[in-house]
């Protein structure tokens, strides 16, 4: 590991050196982010390796302020000439835009100080053969589960690790390492009578290899989810209760997350503008964004501007308590940053979630389905039919028709429609099945009534 540490020292020195150069070129403030990493991915299909990808990459992003003007640049070319040119160009670019009164770095006393142990990095290195084997085992489990599983889009195994170094002209330098291991399978099943095909997939993702589900568990779940879609049909257009499984409920939390982003709010582009402190949902609804979950997929010690991450209560007992903000969007709204600056190299900071989730209830998914006489259980959503300005919602869906509290038959080629405001207000039950498979997660939820459009 000594090489890695050397590299890091090299990058923090490089960051400081470039920040000093930026100041000499006229910058009044600046920050730099350097990200480096390596990735490996393998896809096997029908038992044979289909695609193998391996790479190392690095990027550097520079943001400068010349008074109240600012610009951002990035490069993957770390040669001295290229970086010197980048510094000069960034300062020139900043001088070409207009002054923005609230622009600037966060104040020096806000920068992250302590170093929380978040356990984001696993040094486990798997060799190529081991990773191919894991992908093969996952796909094989899916293919052997049921004779109606006839084909496959593949089994995948991916691993990546990387390091982020962030420095700014306040003298702040922070860095952290992280890793990720993931596995997925996408089987195809064929209806023996009609020949109609269905595809679904299942996956696992963790920062620690040892925590990953077994390949067999992932493959079997993928096959189960695929086979159960066979024989899907349309249903008549009607208004019914809708139960979202944990995956699709997670997408609703994603919609909420976009709506509470400071940038959407100050532009008037969110249906939640002006709703802070007002009721959004029933009192059993509480939503958190927690950047300090140990081993969390969205955890990090500091945000994209070097501010400490933290746990924010977004919705408390049904009331909208906090937006998600970085320094800029916070200043626009007259509020403090919540430590949610998200920084992809080469872009201006924006707002992003850390670990954003709906607090679980006590009922199992089965208990929730049992309460529905006639309704829809949604397992897949497609399309982009969401108007964030108004909250109007209309998406393609598939899943299962619920009759008398039981899943009766699979359904497809239908849409579900409503308005996100009404949908959040209409949450009637929350499941206990909260599992993180990404930065945003939710247990199963039941919404009182939505319009299902079909035949």
């Amino acid at each position: 590991m000594s090489q890695g540490i050397q590299q890091h020292d090299g990058y923090s020195h490089l960051a400081m050196d470039l920040l000093a150069k930026a100041k000499r070129s006229g910058a009044t403030e600046a920050d730099i982010i350097i990200a480096e990493g390596e990735t490996f991915s393998v896809q096997v299909r029908l038992g044979a390796v289909d695609r193998l990808t391996k790479a190392r990459e690095k990027h550097l992003g520079l943001r400068v302020f010349v008074g109240k003007r600012s610009a951002s640049t990035s490069t993957s070319d770390f040669s001295a000439d290229s970086l010197n040119q980048l510094v000069a160009e960034t300062c020139t670019l900043a001088k070409a835009v207009v002054e923005d009164q609230v622009s600037g770095l966060p104040s020096a006393d806000q920068m992250a100080g302590e170093k929380p142990e978040l356990d984001l990095y696993d040094p486990t290195r798997l060799n190529t053969e081991q990773q191919i084997e894991l992908a093969k085992r996952a796909e094989a489990a899916a293919l052997s589960m049921d004779e109606r599983v006839t084909n496959s889009e593949g089994g995948d195994f991916d691993s990546s690790s990387g390091r982020v170094v962030l420095g700014n002209s306040h003298g702040f330098v922070g860095e952290y390492q992280s890793s990720s291991f993931s596995m997925s399978v996408s089987p195809v099943a064929t209806d023996p009578e009609t020949g109609a095909m269905q595809r679904d997939s299942w996956y696992a993702v963790e920062r620690k290899f040892a925590k990953l589900d077994s390949p067999e568990a992932v493959g079997l779940e993928a096959a189960r989810r695929t086979v159960r879609k066979l024989g899907a049909r349309k249903v008549a257009t009607q208004r019914v209760p809708v139960v979202f499984d944990s995956e699709t409920a997670g997408s609703l939390m994603g919609n909420l997350c976009s709506a509470v982003s400071g940038y959407s709010l100050y532009k008037g582009a969110s249906f939640l503008a002006g709703q802070l402190g007002k009721p959004l949902a029933p009192e059993y609804v509480t939503v958190y964004d927690d950047g300090r979950v140990v081993g969390g997929l969205g955890s990090r010690p500091f945000d994209g501007e070097g501010l400490p991450t933290r746990k924010t209560t977004v919705v408390e007992r049904g009331v909208l308590k906090s937006y998600l903000l970085d320094t800029y969007s916070g200043r626009k709204l007259g509020l403090a940053s919540t430590g949610n600056a998200s920084r992809s190299v080469g872009e201006n900071p924006s707002v992003g979630p850390t670990n954003f989730y709906l607090a679980p209830g006590t009922k199992t998914a089965e208990d929730i389905i049992k309460t529905v006489k006639q309704g829809l259980y949604v397992t897949d959503l497609i399309g982009f039919g969401i108007n964030m300005v108004t909250g109007d919602y209309s998406r393609g869906a598939s899943g299962f028709w619920i009759e008398g509290g039981e899943l009766a038959y699979p359904v497809e080629e239908i849409t579900i429609a409503g308005n996100l405001k009404d949908m959040f207000a209409g949450i009637e039950m929350i499941g206990s099945d909260l599992v993180f498979r990404g930065r945003i997660a939710s247990p199963t939820i039941k919404i009182g009534e939505m319009t299902v459009a079909g035949s």
């Binding site: 193998l52 990459e57 990035s74 993957s76 039919g385 300005v389």
Partner: protein, 476 residues
Amino acid sequence: MGELVQLTSFGLTEGEVLEALGRVKVRDVDYADLYFESSVSESVSMEESLVKRATKSVSQGVGVRATAGEKTGFAYSDELSKKALELAADTARYIANSPSGAHAVPVAVRQIPTRDLYPIERAQVEVATAERVSLLNAIDAEARRYDPRIKNVMASFNTEYKVVIVAASDGTLIGDVQPLSRLQVTCIAEENGQRQAGSFGGGGRVGFEFYHGGDRYLRYAREAAREAILNLSAVEAPAGVMPVVLGGGWPGILLHEAIGHGLEADFNRKKTSAFSNLLGKRVASDVCTIVDDGTLPGRRGSLNMDDEGTPTGRTVLIERGILRGYITDKLNARLMGIPVTGNGRRESYQSVVLPRMTNTFMLAGTSDPEDIIRSVDRGLYAVSFGGGQVDITNGKFVFSASEAYLIEGGKVTRPVKGATLIGSGPEILTKVSMVGHDLKLDEGIGTCGKEGQSVPVGVGLPTIRIDEITVGGTQR
């Protein structure tokens, strides 16, 4: 004979490129290629009447690929040193389970694109930031002048300038310079505490002058403002099965989602597409002829050559309702024994080549667009859309209207709120009963996502009537 001009952008000689290629193309490798890419992306954006953000990104690197049978080995590097190239070559070659040795250095035939589909007067890097800033300022003023209810205008101008070289073991050594730009405007309108948004934009493989032609940039501003104001008075969209008339141009996204993806060769080779066994069969009514054409000058989806160095072409996908062809890259064409169509595309050197669409559109028919609307007693007239998506395997697709109206008694009446339309790819075009004579291509805003890779595409459509499709509104 001089060197390929683009090589100088990478500080490489032809000899070095061929040596690296020879290192990948060993005995058990069927095909190998190197894709060198250097790109500069710039963006300026405006909101609250202030052009306050400017960004610039520079990236360069090489992607190295080896294929053996159905297997692909791929590595990429953001360094172009001899050592980095060798490492990438060795990694890509791993797939063939072949030890080094038995190198067969191919004889390269230098190819120069025989056409230039995107000549531009000034490279975008030569357009001063100040010119872009004044363009955005004018857009802000125009949109606010359109209607005082416009409360915020957000506009961005993005450009990309890409230099690429493809060196392949089949003798390809070819380069291209690919400009791309896009101007996008979003307006927020507000009235009685109610807010609505409207968006419009356009672009292509065009120079800065394009946006000034016919004051195109001001039209974008007015269109975005018009849509936002219109949507303030929109009523609930209907729910259920009904006839739908699609306007020309961007609603061609229907073709992209409903049939285009399903005809990409990779899904058909793997037999995971709902279209897998339908070649030569009827998948549309006989008024429908659909092509994918990467050769239209200046269009967003056009390319002189695809990312494997194959010249792009015009591929007939559906001819008078009959499925005629697939969209291919080299790998899938070889494995399926069908022609290479010049559709091998990748987002960047960091991504693998996939068969992808270019500009996909339906040829004009003979109906008068007004007759098409008059033929509908109760239905929807949709003229602008947001995104769409498809499940390749069961063929179900969606696309979401952002500007639509009710048709009542053969007349376009009230605007309705956005709604998602859902249908089945292999069936939907059999329900097209009328095709207008007014083929229109979109303005140049489309970006297609597949396996996490985004590439620019175009679509086009004349006015058409679909006899029935499910509309996902809330009003029964």
